[in-house]
Point group: C2
Chain length 408, copies 2
């Protein structure tokens, strides 16, 4: 991590005026986005950008690894006993899979926050704490923490605790979330969607300085010279912003000088190049640091291409169609799935296939990090563990080899 | 744990009317309490009940074990580098000490929630999650979770996650807290002290049923048929209420059919007998289950009485006087300390001394659980680990022997 440039308050105020111009300028980007979405959609059923009004599509992210969701069958359909067993599994998997990934040298893991029956993790940082004391190298992140419906002070406290438990391996990925359940659950109005994230991100960046904070806003009680504990050992908690399809979110991330994690969950990855460019140009304008950008996309690995597709397709379709039904998407067709694997943003196949496609995406976009979203409904435990094993032992070294060769 | 009696809504409404009478009846208890406090105070500097308006004095509890606080020196006095080192230690201790306690068969551990520079733990359940995956038998509790300034839904989510990570060993101890810092930090008014706890405890008990909840109150957004995840494997998260000196809190705990944890941190333990009696009588009236009561008191163990006192006194006095200064207490005198060890609620000494005194307290009060609050400022790591070792390996077996002999 490059040391962040620090700004005086005065300088920051000056720069703050520029953001308005920038946001105005990004309106044209929104139009481009819509066009890209539609055309990509016809080619490859771009789930990233079709017909959903909320920004971040980051659901269950995972950092160069793994994310989990409820490992059982349809909760309505299954008898109580199995439900109970599945519940517990929902938490055992992540810890065991993280331990394996750590052993194999996978760089990072991220867990999403959800408040729906399909997912077992509503408090990712609590699970990360459980992983922290069983691992030694792997970075521990959320993907994303739905900051809009949480309290920045509590989020900071929990992640700085994970940071202490892991000797500095915690990283929070803040986002607006792609689901809306957390809003009524925690008493927020979806009408305040923008102001909630804007204000809470502002407060969170203040907390990152780890000094007494004085802050006032409309979405949370004011703070006066409030000191928040525990502090981190490094003095700064690693913090990303997770962004789906909104240029404003990209600009805002640059404004606060935070690293950007792009959710690319459908269509050709190249079409996200303008977002990386926008992030860099915005950081230049605001005189903040443009960090290497991260991307995350879904996928699955097995010993052969055919096996990976056979294991992954049915559970993925169940989950995709259930969520799609809520969002007005048509059911997933097998052709779309195959097309997304060939040309889009789904990294499914043998280690060789997946490594080749990840390396190409990294190379094309010039990202600094790739996270494989590795979760799709009720996957068998053995297949999940095998996928983590292949990812750590084969895919990651292959990707590095391919990229090193290209550089020479 | 005895299966809780379940009540119909109608029956509950009928019983709810009785609580008013009960609370009225407890006014006399308040007077008795004040008298006891004063007389105990003159004899043994009863820190439990002198001059502090808030209810629960439970600060950093610990279940048949151990609680931790910031292991560094005065934060204002120490240079930055040491501060950093101490920060990290603050979290390493609890995990290592919990692993040792688990190995030795200590039954439970509880960590307090604090938002002050002296303490490193502001999110006990995050640390408990880190302990969960490194231990196999020990129960994992908070002591207390300051429910008044937190969100019952989030508290439930985090503890049910700890429950999943630990195969059912989580237990939350809810309380009002003895410090007030969390109120401004999370935007609550101390004037709402009573209604905050009352309403949030009510909502929390509804969440314990693990069914969709419809709830409305004044201190948190309403819920309509809201389902909260993850559910626990057992179907019920173990939940206590931690109480300091308030009879109303005892009655409320009985009303909700929850087990009671009494903070007895000064004076002769016998004077809490009326609270146990009140709890049992209230439970009878409300037709709820009167569970075995828990008590917690401070202490420390070393190889000899003298060594225990020498290690414990200075750091304890630093912490006690710093907190005392905020509450108008006079500085602690050595005679008071010695007297509290001989006749009061401080369990300091050799394993034999501490075991004898704990057994006597358990026997006199008829409690079902004893928690030693084992923390006092900057204690050396080696002394802390030795205390845990002596507690698990010697004190607990000795207490059980003494109690078994008395029964025969």
């Amino acid at each position: 991590m490059t040391a962040p440039k620090t700004l005086s308050d005065q300088r920051r105020a000056l720069l703050a005026r520029r953001i308005r111009l920038f946001v105005a300028a990004t309106i044209s980007y929104n139009i481009i986005e819509a066009i890209v979405a539609i055309s990509a959609g016809t080619v490859a059923d771009s789930t990233a950008l079709i017909g959903f009004g909320l920004d971040s599509i980051i659901e269950v992210a995972s950092a160069a690894a793994v994310a989990w969701q409820f490992a059982g069958r349809d909760p309505e359909a299954r008898p109580d006993e199995q439900h109970v067993a599945a519940r517990q599994q929902g938490h055992e998997h992540p810890v065991e899979e993280a331990v394996l990934a750590d052993d194999l040298g996978v760089d990072a893991i991220a867990l999403g926050e959800h408040h729906r029956p399909e997912y077992s993790i509503s408090s990712p940082e609590t699970v990360l704490a459980g992983i922290a004391t069983r691992t030694s190298r792997i970075k521990l992140g959320s993907g994303v923490t739905v900051l809009s419906s949480d309290d920045p002070v509590r989020v900071f406290q929990r992640f700085s605790t994970v940071d202490a438990l892991s000797n500095g391996r915690a990283e929070v990925i803040l986002g607006r979330g792609s689901f809306t359940e957390s809003f009524p659950l925690f008493g927020y109005d979806l009408a305040d969607y923008d102001v909630l994230f804007e204000e809470k991100l502002q407060l969170f960046t203040r907390l990152l300085d780890e000094k007494p904070v004085t802050w006032e806003g409309t979405t949370r009680a004011a703070l006066e010279n409030a000191d928040v504990y525990p502090k981190t050992e490094s003095g700064r908690l690693k913090t990303w912003v997770g962004v789906g399809g909104s240029p404003q979110s990209v600009v805002r991330t640059a404004y606060y000088g935070l690293p950007l994690m792009l959710a690319i969950i459908g269509g050709a990855p190249d079409r996200f190049a303008p977002y990386l460019d926008l992030y860099r140009r915005a950081a230049e304008q605001f005189e903040t640091t443009a960090y290497p950008v991260g991307m995350h996309s879904p996928g699955f690995i097995a010993d052969t291409d055919e096996e990976a597709k056979e294991i992954f397709y049915a559970p993925y379709k169940v989950m995709r169609d259930r969520i799609g039904a809520l969002r007005g998407w048509p059911p997933l067709k097998r052709e779309e799935f195959e097309s997304e694997i060939l040309h889009g943003s789904m990294y499914v196949g043998s280690p060789e296939t997946v490594a080749r496609r990840i390396a190409a995406a990294i190379d094309k976009l010039g990202v600094g990090r790739f996270d494989l979203i590795y979760s799709a409904g009720p996957l068998p435990v053995s297949a999940r563990l095998r996928a983590v094993e292949l990812y750590g032992a084969k895919v990651i070294p292959m990707v590095r080899d391919i990229l090193a060769e290209k550089e020479n």
